[in-house]
Amino acid sequence: MIALIDYRAGNLTSVKKALAAIGAEVFVPERPSEVAQAAGVIVPGVGHFGATRALDREWVDAILERVGQLRPLLGICLGMQWLFESSDEAPGLPGLGLLSGTCIRLGSGRGSDTGSDTGQVLTKIPHVGWNDLHFLREASITAGVPDGAQVYFTHSYVAPLTADAVATTDHGETFAAIVERAHVAGVQFHPEKSGDVGLRILRNFVELAG
């Protein structure tokens, strides 16, 4: 059973539906203690880093304990950013801290919008839409996903580009689209909204959880 953590940041429905479509068994723990039954843990979410405040000490401890027992953890979008130490979006609010670094706002105005023939340089923030993955290395959650695969993003902040990055994406700057360190992984995009590529990544995670 995969535990899907509900902290009221966005809509769980689509993640639940995608997991159901690949035949995964899912539960939404009502109390932190229930995380102990999880074969794997998914922290979804979208929106402001401040929303992770709802994941208080008890939730953090329960998730860290399960990760300590080598159960796989996947953070999606805001859930990925939460795996890091902090975010400029909500200074002073700590993340889970399993991965090193601070999340930062995507740089604006530094890239070029090829759709424009006015010669004006423009990178729109938030970054919304389908963009491609450039793999730096192989990882267990990305098995079968080809280099250049396109996935759906919607975000304004990004995780730092560190040694944990598995794949990068460009939007004004190059940022970490997928991270993995041992059995802890994160994706900045929404696999539940990324068609077959996204379902493949979720299936890989569910298989890791066993």
Partner: protein, 251 residues
Amino acid sequence: MLAKRIIACLDVRDGQVVKGVNFEGLRSAGDPAALARRYNAEGIDELVILDVTATLEARRALAGTIRAVARELFIPLAVGGGIRAEADAAAAVDAGADKVSLNTAALADPTLITRLARQYGSQAVVVAIDAKRKDGRFAVYARSGQAEADRDAVEWAREAEAHGAGEILLTSIDRDGTKAGFDCVMTAAVSAAVSIPVIASGGAGGLDHFADVFTRGRADAALAASIFHDAETSVRALKHHLQQRGIPVRL
């Protein structure tokens, strides 16, 4: 590179997809779930379900339509038409919508944008602007093009962004259903005025209309309905055409 999105719109009334010309004269074009499935197989990037009915009974039927589409398609799904308050948005989101599109209700009370953005995140709140050229400006209309709102589209788009909108869906009433091409001038004016993505709508009639709106019109996405429903243009053929024109697309 961020792909330019191709979005198919399903105008749904009484559980059937319908399409009008210049916002009137609706004709039936099929079962929404079946159409959605076909578009997904052809590589559509996103779907919009627009409720063009107003009765409570039809609204309940719409939730069933949203559910049927969201159960099997794993691409972004927006729902608009008749979203007047938090409860309407909650019903759409609960049924499986990723985004809600506000129009008349946002004009009447822009704080609805903010309240929904706080609850679901800005990425879930699309502000739809229906506008037509009038006296050298882009006049905004409410109530499906029936009531002039005494607003300019550029100014209203900026205000919607400030209130927390995540995207603008800009429809040219002049071009809607005409297949005469998107209003690239209006789209470029709005796109340049905001930093959030702008979806161009109204007037798609051929492959080059899309290329035009992504270049001259500076649109981030383009939405069409009848051109795809009637299978005049397949999504795949459109994307290959755009790719040949050097426009980034998802293939």
